[in-house]
Structures are given as structure tokens and as C-alpha cells.
């Protein structure tokens, strides 16, 4: 089951939330099922520098200025949050500085 809609919402206090909605077929509306408070100090350019990628079991989330990448599982409606790590082991040609804070994914 992957009928989960995900939105990234930032409030006026610059706190970022991931909100997960599931279609309520009885009353025909998107029902808010879960909220993750994911970023406590969102940067001003978050509209363009936030990565929200679907995979087979949920979503991968990354925001600018944060080195942490997370996965949130939606297929079982558990919304379990797991940290995603980055491996550069096979990337021998890159001689620059790795800066996960600035990494943008798409």
C-alpha cells in the first residue's frame, strides 16, 4: 500500500514538519495520519533546497543546512524514521570536500 500523500510544511517559527495524509474513502477527504517534526531551524531558501524523494517503501528527506538524511516508512503506515547514511567508498575520482550540509538530492 502506498496511498500516502506527503507534504513538507514550514510554519512561521521556521519549524519544518512532514505531514502524511491518507485518503478517507468514506468521507472523501485527505485525512492527516501522521506528523514528523523534522527540522527545527529551517533556512529561508527551503522551498528550493529541500529534497523529498520517494522510494519503494516510503520517502527520503533531506533539507539544506542539515547533514542528516532520513527515510520515513509509509508502506506499513508505521512512519518509522530511519537515518540514511551516505557512502563515498567507491567514489575515488572526487577530490573535493564532502559537505553533507550542502548536499542537494533529486
Amino acid at each position: 500500500m502506498q496511498d500516502v500523500a506527503c507534504f513538507y510544511v514550514v510554519d512561521s517559527a521556521n519549524v519544518g514538519y512532514l505531514q502524511f495524509y491518507v485518503w478517507n474513502s468514506i468521507s472523501n477527504f485527505f485525512e492527516l495520519k501522521h506528523t514528523n517534526t523534522i527540522t527545527s531551524a529551517v533556512l529561508s531558501n527551503w522551498q528550493t533546497e529541500t529534497s523529498l524523494i520517494r522510494d519503494l517503501t516510503g520517502i527520503i528527506f533531506k533539507s539544506n543546512g542539515q547533514s542528516t538524511i532520513v527515510h520515513i516508512k509509509t508502506t506499513d503506515y508505521s512512519y518509522t524514521q530511519t537515518t540514511v547514511t551516505v557512502s563515498w567508498g567507491t567514489m575515488t575520482s572526487y577530490t573535493g570536500t564532502v559537505d553533507l550540509n550542502s548536499l542537494y538530492l533529486t
Binding site: 528550493t48 533546497e49 529534497s51 524523494i53 522510494d55 519503494l56 527520503i60 538524511i69 527515510h71 530511519t82 537515518t83 540514511v84 547514511t85 551516505v86 557512502s87 563515498w88 567508498g89 567507491t90 567514489m91 575520482s93 572526487y94 573535493g96 570536500t97 564532502v98 559537505d99 553533507l100 550542502s102 548536499l103 542537494y104 538530492l105 533529486t106
Partner: protein, 146 residues
């Protein structure tokens, strides 16, 4: 699972494999030619861009990047006439030139070695000037990053 790519600045785009909560950098795409490639004959302005998320997108086969410089622009030689979109084909297999001499390694013993194709995988399309997105320039483009 679609291809995941990412970048931290304007030098490389990385292709990532993803499994079991690990993103593994599996390949890299040099945006402007890197120092070794320039030494070996690559033209530095191949993808003269500043990578920003809002100027970058990925599809099934290509990544696309907006550039404020037209495809045929040449630093210090031409004026900028248009903005452009630079495309890179994701499944491109690069010519291997480990000693950076501009010749494909597997042909170096040949009578006439094959020259490395530095533009492999890249295509470019100018966008109409009506979009007003080209870089404001003086008489000639001096190749400044913007």
C-alpha cells in the same frame, strides 16, 4: 526506484545507488571539465553553470541544467546571446583516460590513438532570448562564474 543524483557545489553531480538506508555514490559527472581534463584538452566551458536546485532537474534518461550562457559561447571570444539548457545522458560511458594525455587508454598502442571525446553525453539547446534569462554581459564574455 528512479536514479538519485545529488550535488554539493558546481563541480560534480554524483549518481547514487540506494538500498537498505544507504546512499552509495556510484559515479560522478564532472560539470565543467576538471583540472586533469582541461590539461588533456577538454574545453573548460562545457557546462559553465552554477548548480542550483531550481536550475536542475532529472528525468529517466537525462539530467538538465539551465545555464545563463548560450551553447556556442566562448570565454573572451564571444558575446552571450542566449541562455541555454545543458543536457547530460545518464547512461553515458566515459572514455577512459587514466594518464590524462587526451587519448583513450585502450587505443594508445594503435597507430592513431583515439582522442578522448570530452563532450560525450552532453548536448545543449539555446532558449529564446524572449525568456530574458541570459547573463547580462558587456562586449565579450570573460568567463566569470555567476
Amino acid at each position: 526506484m528512479p536514479q538519485i543524483v545529488g550535488f554539493m557545489n558546481s563541480d560534480y553531480v554524483f549518481k547514487f545507488d540506494y538500498a537498505s538506508y544507504v546512499l552509495t555514490a556510484a559515479d560522478s559527472i564532472a560539470m565543467p571539465c576538471n583540472a586533469n581534463q582541461i590539461t588533456a584538452g577538454c574545453v573548460g566551458e562545457r557546462a559553465f553553470i552554477t548548480l542550483e536546485p531550481e536550475h536542475f532537474d532529472i528525468g529517466t534518461n537525462y539530467i538538465a541544467m539551465l545555464s545563463p550562457i548560450n551553447c556556442a559561447a566562448s570565454s573572451t571570444l564571444t558575446t552571450i546571446t542566449n541562455a541555454s539548457v545543458r543536457f547530460y545522458k545518464l547512461d553515458t560511458v566515459w572514455d577512459i583516460d587514466t594518464n590524462n594525455n587526451g587519448q583513450v587508454d585502450s587505443t594508445e598502442a594503435d597507430l592513431v590513438p583515439t582522442t578522448v571525446d570530452w563532450d560525450k553525453g552532453w548536448t545543449c539547446m539555446d532558449v529564446p532570448t524572449s525568456m530574458n534569462w541570459q547573463h547580462a554581459t558587456t562586449a565579450y564574455w570573460y568567463g566569470n562564474w555567476i
